[in-house]
């Protein structure tokens, strides 16, 4: 008995020492002290000019106040960020201490030795904030792996985790008069939101109207369109095509993860069907669709010209802001319509520390600070799209109308459900939530990775050209798909 008590005392004392030690180290570590060597210095980073980074521009002031370090954030368009980053990395000019780049660049940067693995920072006590758990706490491990790891090693932390989803004008789709007319014309209830591609086509056709016609009881003073999608020869069109391709059950490359290479399987009947649908839906889109990137598509929604569109969740903030959007409060959010699969494409921009960074430790300390839930909440309230799960337990975040669906697509967790007729746009639409994923037989969303190996860049360029050619009618969908597959195989040496 005495022996048992003695053992228990030893275990208890050890625990106390461990907890005490942990508390001491947690207490002892401070950002201010850790960043002291760089007080008065500058940290320069580059990223995409969108609400999440514009939000960080505001939030970083707190970091500057604590540390005395000036953080300069350079913001450019999507493709320009990659160009400028690569130019800096190739030239070893060390302009950028920290990168915020699309995760698909991971393979290229890693294979060329342009970015540093994070383990040396994670394992360095002086640089490691003991109050932050970087093992857990992310909304989806698979998503984190795809966007921040390459071949098993961590090279980044998520700037954000994003996906594309359906924006729909629920004020129109749930207008009783419109619903009545729709039912009479199509023989079924107007789906709000449409959850498959047939429904989407019907709803898009139904709401495409000319100036002078009536829409939800009002005479239109401009043409109105059922749907909008990107069509320009731009990376945006590649992303749009992937939504359709994945949902129709196709893939570009057979790969379990983004960093693994597999056979090119793009030339499938599913891919041809997906592209045919893309071409076909254009007749319900604004005439300028072939000049649309994300910004134009977003502007069409913000100006009240379209009933639905598929766009990014990190762009939604501006659509829900009454100062920037005439449809604020009228747009709700659902997943990409379901074909052979219920999908969300995995995407995210990632904080990476270049090998040429002149202040890698400071860059690490900055991103470590940004990962704190309270910082993430501040960023998300201004337009972020956090990868940290704790953020989504904050009531202010839960109230943001675009959050529940975006969070559901990534985590599978439901904050709130939206039913037809709810005045509040927030919530995962019940129809979508309950819809079966034909691939799995349950309601789970399949989260599809995209290539992150180095050859992905020319592959992307090939796809956007030929999809654009098919959209213009210069090639048939089959010709375009065959041509893409042939050129991609040539790049992959298959």
């Amino acid at each position: 008995m005495k022996r048992k008590i003695k053992c228990l005392l030893i275990v208890f004392s050890s625990l106390l020492i461990m907890i005490g030690g942990y508390s001491y180290s947690a207490f002892a570590w401070s950002l201010k002290e850790a960043t002291e060597p760089w007080r008065g210095k500058t940290l320069r980073m580059i990223g995409e000019s969108l609400p999440p980074l514009q939000a960080l521009e505001e939030v970083k002031k707190e970091f500057e106040k604590i540390t005395g370090v000036k953080v300069i954030i350079e913001m450019y368009g999507h493709e320009e960020v990659v160009e400028r980053t690569t130019t800096d990395l190739v030239g070893k000019t060390g302009i950028y201490d920290l990168l915020d780049n699309p995760h698909r660049e991971l393979g290229r940067y890693v294979e060329l030795g342009w970015i540093q693995p994070l383990d040396k920072f994670v394992n360095e006590t002086k640089l490691r904030d003991p109050n932050l758990d970087l093992e857990k706490g992310f909304i989806n491990r698979k998503w984190l792996y795809e966007t921040c790891f390459y071949k098993g090693k961590q090279y980044g932390l998520p700037f954000h985790q994003i996906s594309m989803y359906l924006w729909y004008r629920f004020d129109l789709l749930e207008n009783p008069q419109e619903r009545m007319v729709f039912k009479a014309k199509y023989g079924y209830e107007l789906p709000s939101p449409p959850i498959n591609w047939k429904e989407l086509r019907d709803v898009a056709e139904f709401f495409t109207r000319k100036k002078g016609e009536t829409l939800a009881g009002k005479i239109l003073d401009h043409d109105f369109y059922g749907f909008s999608i990107t069509g320009k020869r731009h990376v945006a069109t590649w992303y749009s095509f992937l939504n359709l391709l994945y949902s129709f059950g196709g893939r570009v490359i057979d790969q379990p993860r983004g960093d693994t290479k597999g056979p090119v399987i793009l030339d499938s009947p599913e891919a041809i069907e997906a592209l045919k649908y893309y071409v076909d839906i254009l007749k319900y889109c604004p005439p300028g669709t072939l000049t649309y990137g994300w910004d134009e598509e977003q502007a069409a929604m913000q100006q009240g010209l379209v009933a639905m569109g598929i766009n990014w969740d990190d762009a939604t903030w501006a659509v829900c802001d009454p100062e920037q959007s005439v449809v604020a409060g009228k747009v709700a959010f659902s997943g990409v319509p379901i074909g052979k699969e219920k999908i969300a494409q995995i995407e995210g921009w990632t904080y990476m520390i270049p090998s040429t960074s002149r202040k890698p430790e400071l860059a690490w300390l900055f991103i470590q600070w940004v990962m704190h839930p309270e910082v993430q909440i501040a960023q998300q309230l201004r337009g972020g799209e956090s990868a940290i799960d704790a953020v989504y337990y904050d009531p202010r975040i839960r109230k943001l109308p675009y959050v529940p669906t975006a969070y559901y697509l990534k985590s599978g967790k439901v904050i709130k459900v939206r039913h037809v007729g709810d005045p509040d746009p927030g919530g995962v639409p019940a129809r979508y939530l309950e819809a079966i994923n034909p691939r799995t037989g349950n309601t789970e969303v399949t989260r599809v990775p995209k290539p992150t190996f180095p050859e992905q860049e020319p592959i992307t360029d090939i796809i956007k050209l030929h999809v654009n050619q098919a959209l213009r009618g210069v090639m048939t969908p089959k010709e375009a798909i065959d041509k893409m597959a042939q050129e991609i195989r040539s790049i992959m040496k298959q």
Binding site: R233, T289, L290, E457, P458, L465
Partner: protein, 285 residues
């Protein structure tokens, strides 16, 4: 004289050294690169020597040859109209005595705008849903869709170039017109020459050299035209506005095939160089 020339060399030396560092060295490196295979996406291409392979590939690349044709399709009408319009505006401005300076500064505004901004202005103005010109074009059924999304997109690029660079031609022609000696015109008038005859047989021949200068300057610039097109269409739709510069950029900075992109850029340089050489040799300017 020799002492003077030595002094001049001393003053010029820093500039020449700078030019050598920022211009000549990168150029020589680029030439070297064009004989190698270096890519940041195809990792088997690590900079190994491939001789003339990149040049052979370029000369047999149908898309490159197509991009040369596209360049000329944009360049020829743009330059022709800029010359004619520039001459007309120059002649018109020469008639104004007092308002000339003011009008010139107004007309020169597009020239001072960055080409990227011109591209953005084009995108916004021609947008078929929000752009004033785009809406007008559609309302008059001149185009069914946004022009930048159709096979007529190259015409929009031509118009943007004319908008931006006609003022340059106008200013050069105006300077030439104002510098013309008046005596031949007075003599022609006394001899009973009509104003059309005076224009045809005096003004135009006197401006001949300026025509060559404007054409030369604009050709060199327009052959490399990039920013406006990239912002407006990225060379699309399809390859409709994919000029040689866009094609070289696409290989160099989107597909990251540095060696091939460099080879294409050097071929563009070669064309510009040949034109310059021929111009200097035959123009007598």
């Amino acid at each position: 004289m020799e002492v003077e020339s030595k002094k001049a060399m001393v003053w010029l030396l820093p500039c020449m050294v700078l030019l050598f560092i920022v211009d000549i060295i990168p150029f020589l490196v680029a030439i070297g690169e064009s004989f190698r295979a270096l890519s940041f996406t195809l990792l088997s291409q690590r900079g190994q020597w491939v001789g003339l392979d990149n040049y052979r590939k370029a000369l047999n690349d149908p898309v490159f040859l197509e991009s040369i044709l596209t360049t000329f399709k944009i360049l020829v009408p743009a330059l022709s109209i800029e010359l004619l319009l520039g001459l007309g505006i120059g002649l018109l401005l020469a008639q104004f005595q007092r308002a000339r300076r003011f009008l010139m500064s107004i007309i020169a505004i597009p020239m001072m705008i960055a080409p990227v901004v011109i591209g953005m202005m084009g995108v916004l103005a021609l947008n078929s849903e929000f752009g004033p010109i785009g809406i007008i074009l559609r309302n008059f059924n001149l185009v069914e869709k946004a022009i930048l999304g159709t096979s007529l997109a190259w015409i929009a690029i031509v118009i943007l170039d004319i908008y931006q660079w006609t003022p340059l031609a106008a200013i050069i022609f105006l300077a030439g017109i104002l510098a013309m000696p008046q005596e031949p015109f007075e003599a022609a008038q006394i001899d009973g020459a009509s104003s059309w005859q005076r224009f045809l047989f005096l003004t135009l021949p006197m401006l001949k050299n300026l025509f060559a200068v404007v054409l030369f300057l604009r050709f060199i610039d327009a052959f490399k035209m990039f920013d406006k097109i990239w912002i407006a269409t990225e060379g699309g739709p399809g390859r409709t506005t994919q000029t040689v510069s866009i094609y070289a950029f696409r290989h160099g900075f989107l597909r990251w095939n540095l060696s091939y992109g460099t080879t294409l850029a050097l071929l563009i340089f070669l064309v510009s160089f040949i034109v310059t050489y021929l111009f200097v040799k035959f123009s007598k300017v």
